[in-house]
Amino acid sequence: MRGLLNPDQKRGLIGSAMLAVLILVIVGAYVLWGETYQARILYATFVNLIVVIGLQVFMGNGNYATFSHAAFMGIAAYAAAICVTPATVKALSLPDAPWGLNAFEMHPVSAALVALAITGIIGALTGLFMSRLTNVSITIVSIAILVIVHSIFLHRTDIFKGNQALFGIPRVFGLGHVTALVILAIVAARLFRESRLGLRLRAVADDEVGARAMGVNVVRARMIAWVASTLFFATAGIAYAFYLGTISARPFYFNYVFLTVAMLILGGLRSVTGAVFGTLLISLGLEIIRWLETGPTLGGVKLPEMLGLSGLLLGIVIVGVMAFRPHGLMGNREIEDIVFRPKKTTEISK
Amino acid sequence: MLEISGLKVFHGPIEAVHGIDLSVPEGSCVALLGPNGAGKTSTLSAITGTARATGTIRLEGHDLAGLDIEDRFRAGISIAPEGRRIFANLTVFENLRMGAATRTDGGVERDIEEWLSRFPILGERRSQSAGTLSGGEQQMLTIARALLSKPRILLLDEPSLGLAPKIIGQVFALIEDLRHEGMTILLVEQNAGAAIDVADYVYVLANGLVTRHGPSEEFGDGSGLMGELTGVHD
């Protein structure tokens, strides 16, 4: 009766293709006109994008507020970094590492796979908890995961170096790699959202009792979405480590969590397109603010220096969006819903 | 008492009622009948101020436009809404106290007791949380709560919904009693026969327009009405 993909997923592929084109246009624009430092901004934006798309998978479809993504990103980043860094470098950077962690090295691909596997396993273990909890408890336990993982990073300085730098990671990724990963992430998230499982999770988000009466195994739906989303975070973490060459526990904590959550909210948690737009807009916005902060000369007028505005703006974006568009810019809509304005509108008025 | 003219009601961009006139004289019971989606609830929402509307609504000659939901209630409009919007986390007793929240006279407790004895099943469950009541029990609670404020005009949206026949009988008897006590009532009902029985005047609403109205005698037992409503829907 069904092919490989259901009709919604096919629509999703069309939507993903549009978003992919958008991403490629941005990269193209950079290649043609960009300055070197912008490559880094773009790379960071794309890493964030993978995280935010991963957030959409569990947090967006299930309508839970979770804050542990930075932890999973960190786990993968450290795992990949420890695997891929040459033993000679690790002798210097991780002299006291136990279990021979500083005595081996791996090909980047194997290192990435190991990192994905480790994160996936930890995702599954925590998922056993997460999938059995209720709304606010999910938030709390996600915070607990973040704090516990962070404490371990800090405490086991012999393995993770804590707030000091773990350096010497071969920088094997470039903009091309992360672009490919972003597009992959978009497609994967769209396919998930439109899959039966994604639909079920969205139903659970609306009415858990109703969903169970329709046969939805809530625990299973949450579990799969949770583990899937941790794999997105892992991918982002690996991309982060493979590009920067130096990591520490510091970036994988609350500040990063708030930033990425704000991105998801701005776009609208319910749609993948929202995740993409939200990330791009906030990244762009932050760059503009960073530039404005320094008091540039604009059309002959020297603007005052206003350092430190970006944090303020981030908060204002969150509050403003919540007040005026509680479902974010996109609400329930995906890009193809806007472009095609289909007869069977899937827009939900509220 | 209540005069409505040229009323249009909107839900976002959707216009649910397309300009109707309606009047509820003091001390009378007016029934508003019509199929699903006709706009009955929307009309009541416009009166209570919970839906956006144009046209005029006058209560005893005063235009209600610009009045808040609370002020309309304080002006004497009380509603037992559709869908039993009881406060699920409060007990039965507390729900009733909410109904009398604006009253300052001393008789609230006594009145609550009176209602609890009128619906004995509620009396037995006075400290049960209202969310766990059966559907019918919730419906009774909704009606009692609406009446505890001693309103000047009572809006009832499908009060018989989900009630057992015996209780329906009681509810309509209650409406009859209230009418005799001089209460003004606007009644929305699916149970056309019973509604016509208690009402003085009947409006029939379909697709957001009044299709017919007249004294209840003109409608007989409501069976004539059925034909009219058939096929109107959709």
Binding site: E35, Y37, R40, A165, L244, T246, N255, G308 | -
Partner: protein, 364 residues
Amino acid sequence: QDDTVKIGFAVPLTGDFAPYNEVDGARCMAEMINREGGIGGRQIELMVQDTGADTQAAISAVERFLGDNPVAIGTIPFSDTMIPVAQIAGAQGVSIVQAQSTQVEMHTGVVDNFLTNVAPDPYTATAAANYALSQGVKNVVIFTSDEGGSWSARTPEWFAEVIEAGGGTLQATLNYTGGTTDWSPQIAELRALDPAPDAIYISWGVPDIAVLIRQVRAAGLDAWVVGSDGFDDPSLDALAGEDVSLLDRVFFGTLAPSQGGSKIAEFQDACAAIGMPVNGLFPALGADTIKIVAYGVEAAGSTDPVAVRDAIRAADAIPVMSVESISFKDTSSYALREIPVIGFENGERKLLSLEVPGNVPSWP
């Protein structure tokens, strides 16, 4: 060909590390030099960008600065930022010059283009320990936390090492987290010790420290409270406003003399006079960064960053704001300076000792 000397600061003006940025002092010193005619006619131009605590933001700001050919760059004083920033800047020969980076891992040879105006943590710990020993301290307790990297985790251990080498005992190691406003569990541990400790050591900052001092005294403990550069903040002195005796048995090893009448205090007054107030030790040390770079440019006679760095490293004595002079000749990445130990008398800062300690424990 350049008629300006550009220095970039991709630093935390907001976020958790904002108190440690050096921009105010750097600005004031640059202004002073520029008013005097610049460095051999070259004006100093600072490029400042707020990065919060975000490494990525720092890196991209630095890459942008690099487009303007700076001589040196300052950034977030954590190795996870300083290393990649140094690597990127290194491609263009530009040095990272940090006003305040005391943590040890930058001096292990990870990067070559790194300089900091100050001495690493083991030196401050040793100076403090030496003074403690001179006061007859025998039994010590240290407070450690992993949150501040090696500064808060290892510095207390170096302190203890020196104390033990001097014949004292480490009675206990207690742990804490940042933001502690109620130290009573730790204090209960202290009170349970027999004999009562002579000194407790903690590398941490205000406001938590002020709370600790107050609560330790309230609990009737009169052990010395000893610390490091994190103590060196005006809000510690504010404790005297409540009760001068609170600061009586408090001292700390720090980066440069900052007591009343010191050069730093004079500098702060001078800056306030020209309307550019500089509060606290870390902001003031930005002035040293400017002085060092200025010296390098002058000595190299160019703004070529590599030439400047070589000139700085070759110098026997570079005049700076906070002390007479410093030198990178023997260390190549940090300035081996005299470490001041500062205490209080009637609530006023007092320089207790000033030495280049010779008995520093070995550090990586």
